[in-house]
Symmetry: C2
Subunit: 333 residues, 2 copies
């Protein structure tokens, strides 16, 4: 595969640095969905935006903010990485529907309705009971549709996800997860959910986070690409992409923050456990941003043609962002 394949990663939360941005260029990455926050409230979310403003100033030769999907092509032309933002939780909007448009204006293109736990909007995939989309959640879905903020159900539970798809007038995405049929995990998705996502016009970004893979860190590239092939059958070639969930260079304290936020005094191990509390060992064929070519190669060996590989590696994400982040016709905000 040539390096010129448009490459968009549907989720990362790395310990951002010049070295990582350089690796992104080396790996031919054109744009990345960067997680802005996990549990940060409104004010704290602005701190994160502020940190990114400084990165954009300092590293302007390497990275560029994506204010609209077409900026990704400009980033590519100038040999830089476009950064677009998403929140893994609805904490940035607190209890205030007006913050949806405000966050969108600041560049938040994607928001998850929940992160593992029950939120004010919906239920997370670790809760025992899923009562579906809340009253506030229904209003927020409508507002996200209006302003063009993509609804991401990666960490949400089954019923809430299906209801969100039902309620939303626009596509619903799962930026980073895998099919539960490939590997049973609370974070992976049922065929019913995946079919509904595809029918909504949404996308699944395949995760290379070992907890989401069969055989964990020992999952082979061939197994991974087999999963992609099976999912292409299930969802259609236009509704799949990459969402690595790469958390490069993050200390364990960040993992603890993701899992525990401010909500528990007891330690929550998320997808790990007490004996296996830290970051999982990385895959041999994908440990940093220089390895996207391995995935493209693997897909080629699995029998995908160039057009299909281009869709999976980036074109589908570009279409999703182009269509999904445009404000609704006539929307004033």
């Amino acid at each position: 595969m040539s390096k010129s394949v448009l490459t968009i990663d549907g989720l990362q939360y790395s310990n951002w640095s010049r070295a990582i941005f350089e690796e992104m260029r080396e790996g031919g990455v054109d744009a990345v969905h960067a997680t802005l926050v996990y549990h940060e409230n409104c004010r704290e979310t602005l701190l994160r935006f502020g940190e990114w403003q400084r990165r954009f100033e300092i590293h302007q030769d390497l990275i560029v903010p994506v204010r609209q999907a077409s900026d990704i092509e400009l980033a590519r032309e100038s040999n830089r990485v476009g950064i677009f933002f998403g929140a893994q939780n609805c904490s940035p909007i607190e209890d205030d529907i007006d913050l949806v448009a405000i966050m969108r204006r600041l560049g938040l293109m994607i928001m998850q309705l929940t992160y593992n736990n029950q939120s004010l909007l919906a239920c997370g995939c670790y809760e025992a009971e899923d009562s579906g989309i809340t009253r506030f959640g229904r209003q927020v879905i409508r507002e996200m549709n209006r302003v063009g903020m993509l609804i991401d159900m990666s960490h949400s539970s089954e019923r809430s996800t299906l209801e969100a798809i039902e309620l939303s007038e626009r596509p619903v995405i799962i930026s980073h997860a895998n099919p539960a049929s490939f590997h049973a995990a609370k974070r992976n998705k049922s065929d019913e959910v995946l079919r509904a996502v595809a029918q909504s016009g949404g996308i699944l970004g395949f995760s290379v986070y070992p907890f989401h893979l069969r055989n964990g860190p020992d999952c082979t590239l061939d197994e991974f690409c087999g999963m992609v092939a099976d999912t292409a059958e299930l969802m259609g070639i236009d509704h799949i992409g990459i969402g690595t969930d790469l958390c490069q260079g993050q200390p364990e304290s960040v993992l603890t923050w993701m899992r525990n936020g401010r909500w528990t005094k007891a330690m929550d191990y998320g997808e790990g456990n007490k004996a296996n509390a830290g970051w999982p060992r990385p895959l041999s064929w994908f440990s940093d941003n220089r390895h996207f070519n391995n995935i493209a190669e693997g897909l080629y060996l699995k029998g995908f043609n160039n057009d299909e590989i281009e869709k999976i590696m980036g074109r589908n994400w570009l279409r999703q962002l182009t269509e999904g982040t445009r404000p609704q016709a006539g929307a004033v905000y």
Copy 2:
């Protein structure tokens, strides 16, 4: 005077309503600098933006947000009022320089460095001692220059204002005040300050708030226009405009908020006093947005020609916004 004179008001904080927006259209107002906040912190400032988002949705036939100066001409063409935002204090940015760019992105085009009291940036016009621009203030001036946010010194004191002008690479404005030579008041400005503002490329917006006028509510239109003529001599015809300080329909509680914020337990009466604590009686020739034509007429009778009147009524403000709110060349934010 015909109604077609471009009319921009350099400051209002009215009790916004459909009736007021309709009066603006009736009065031929094309754009207004609307005060967003007085003492509100960052999070509270977002509440105010949220309220305006709703107004823009509900009253989209009458008002439209000004995201860049050229939107004012679009507003005029569609017979609507363009609203551009300013903060009367630096409270929205708290102690965080990154919030300058964030607030600018949200549409804050103008910020005062102080409101009567000492702030983290500079000294207000009611303090006994003015030690000038602070360390943080110097950084914020540079950042406001960078992102294109106009520095407004309306409520600042003499030394701080002169230092801000010295430090700023871009024009500094006084959106709403009058010359102290016309009427001695803590809020009115010395000839030295006014000359420096003009030399910086900035503008003075003449206030019709009775506390800023000779003879208060009894100031005649002829006296007001005489003041304009004298200031045109002092500052030049390109550096003066209107900044009414109209606070139409506001209850006394809002006046108390402006004056007292959260900073005092004793009552502060601002420009009033215990015996005269409320809103001043309005002028006979300017009490609401339908009366801008009176000012234009008065200027005509005072001997200004049409070109000069157009500059004062709106063209100077439009130029100021066009030049002053553009990000600096190469600025990334």
